[in-house]
Symmetry: C2
Subunit: 158 residues, 2 copies
Amino acid sequence: MKHTISVLVENKPGVLTRISTLFAARGYNIDSLAVGETDDPTVSRMTIVVAGDEAILEQVKKQLNKLIDVIKVSDFLNVAHVERDLILIKVRADKSVRNEILQIVDIFRAKIVDVSANTVIIEMTGDEDKIQALINMLKPFGIKEMARTGIIAMARGG
Amino acid sequence: MKHTISVLVENKPGVLTRISTLFAARGYNIDSLAVGETDDPTVSRMTIVVAGDEAILEQVKKQLNKLIDVIKVSDFLNVAHVERDLILIKVRADKSVRNEILQIVDIFRAKIVDVSANTVIIEMTGDEDKIQALINMLKPFGIKEMARTGIIAMARGG
């Protein structure tokens, strides 16, 4: 099972190393990691997706809370929340298939953000399932390149 | 000046630690980091935004290329490319201001992904400038929470 953990940390050099060392030393498998700014420039938010059971999740949270630069750790277990990942995907698309690709983009409410004679770049946000479904639909055309941000998450409601 | 670096790495435990150690040891300041899957499950792509001049960028690339788990390092200096960051932002929004917020969401072609009696969660993708502009417009209403993925990038064209 995959768990999403949100960690507020001091925005200092070395924090990322301490956190990634913690995960590596204990053999926890990080599926994705996103580190972005918050509205406070001294604070960053890391969103980590880790595979394992609930016991693993509890261990990870306990270890993270021990780190001096960690301000707050939250998970989204049993919490109604929004999860979003962003993907850029460059697909082979000459004239003969461009229409078909545009249809797929439309169905997924994705966006074309670049086009050349033989390729398009598609941008889409969604949860893991939606993004995987898009990848599956585009694979037959030939995926030239793909970049994903990893998940960020937020609890619903006030 | 900010530089965006894209690094293809073996998807193994410890790789993130080696890379973050490299940055921390040399005092390079990471502005954002996104680690996501590629279409090959054994390979991940890290997108790192680092501040500094071109000499720093060259040093970072050289050091990264020495790491055993690094498959390919590219930067986007003088390359036409697309950059995208994803933000989720929870804003105070009772009935009296909801319309005004909806207008802003509309202008930025952002999306409302959750609503409660007193808040909304807004999702938007864009480059740094666009995201900063959205944050500035929403600040007066009261930002309750904010999560960003950090930038991913892709060269334009075939």
